[in-house]
Amino acid sequence: MKEQNLADLEAAFNEKLKQDIRIEPKDWMPDAYRKTLIRQISQHAHSEIVGMLPEGNWITRAPNLRRKAVLLAKVQDEAGHGQYLYSAMETLGFSREQSIDDMHTGKAKYSSIFNYPTLTWADMGAVGWLVDGAAIMNQVPLCRTSYGPYARAMVRICKEESFHQRQGYEIMCTLMKGSEDQKAMAQDALNRFWWPALMMFGPSDAESTHTQQSIDWKIKRHTNDELRQMFVDASVPQAQLIGLTIPDPDLKWNEERGHYDFGEIDWEEFKQVVSGNGPCNAERIAARVKAKEEGMWVREAAMAYAEKKKAKKAS
């Protein structure tokens, strides 16, 4: 009887997927589907939060008032995205606090791109243009992902990401219209961020352990390699338009495929950065742990005050 029930529930779940009906928090779902979503959404939320650090690094040094305001607004959006995504994740029965602790201990991951340093102002351009650009490639299809709260969060997030991408590209355009120093700064930023940006799409399809199941569940809509190709195809003309050179000698338009061919990613570097050995992994985690530890008394105070207020109300 019990087994029969389970089979019915699973059949109903699969039928919903087939008909593109969203799965909602109270619906039955397979454990593995739930776990996959928790992993993916939390990873995404952590990326937003850790992603505030490399850009936060330049807010106090932004070159003019307009850029300072735009960068502040952008980083604030990212905090908002993190908050929004943690809420979506919590609908799956996993707490924000536990999830953050998992990131601090290295059990949960965030996007490897944020383990690279932001060394010059041009990096704010490169990060906006390439990193947010790659994020959009990943995220736009997620607006149609099968889990309702995640899909709805992504609709809102994508609107803001698209603004972020344009502001980054606009920084690059301005630099490329400027002095030789500014042009060199822009090219240097592209040189450093191009390959890490390509790595943002994750391992190649042949190596990806999660892709097929996620596609069957309609969590993911495209494979890593498909998304990476879309990103290359979109970014190359943008670089050419403003006179930047993509740092890849193997990059070539392939008439037959209708796509750009590009060189092999350094997968050893990818592996090292993902497993904690990137240039800024330790710093990023240390900054987040410090914020948590130093904020402990603030959170405790807020809770103690709320308790007192509740007690007063009750008496």
């Binding site: 040094r61 905090a79 900054a287 405790e300």
Partner: protein, 250 residues
Amino acid sequence: MKNNLFTYTLRIADDSLILGQRLSEWCGHGPIIEEDIALTNIALDLIGQATSLLEYAAVAENKGRSADDLAFLRFENQYFNTQLVEQKNGDFAVTIVRQWIFDTFRLPFYEALQHSSDKQLAAIAEKSLKETKYHWKHSSEWIIRMGDGTEESNKRVNDALILLWKFSDELFYMDDVDKELISQGIAVDLETLRPAFNERIHYVLQQATLQLPDSKWKLSGGRQGRHTEHFGHLIAEMQYMQRAYPNMEW
């Protein structure tokens, strides 16, 4: 000839600019995500206010300098912000106490300035007042939570008050610039704001179970361009790009 309107506007602008700069140092390091969002948002409002005010100061000066020139290319002793706003962030209690003292002053200040005979200042004040109401609510609520929270939070917020209260009086600093402009209906007579300021301070402190420090000693100098030691570091960081790459578009 002295340009009173320029100096007056610049003083208000510099308070917003420098506090906005300080607050933006928090970005990504707040005690909870919600506070990262709130502090960044307040920083953004202040940078926005500073931009409007500096644009107007540039017009009032009429020497071809832009708002960005004023923000990024003055020497240390040419900034006229109060010493309060340049104080280091410290812990969350220091940041919030600094903000709260400032917001409690800014609220009645903008309320009064929106009736200025100078239309531009009045318009900036009206817009900024809306933002400042939120800032004040946010900082006051935290003063109360920290004061009436745990033993540790009470101690920290109390220490912050002791550290910062001595800078509060400078917010009411006035000289001939103010007097001249008050007579034209442009500037706010800051003495008239004291009752509203004190009332708000005591109202919040009472709920927070806190008291003002005993010491009556006050520090000032910012309005004449005399700053504290950390100020040089703040502007060195803020001006880095404009100093390293002069005369470029960004």
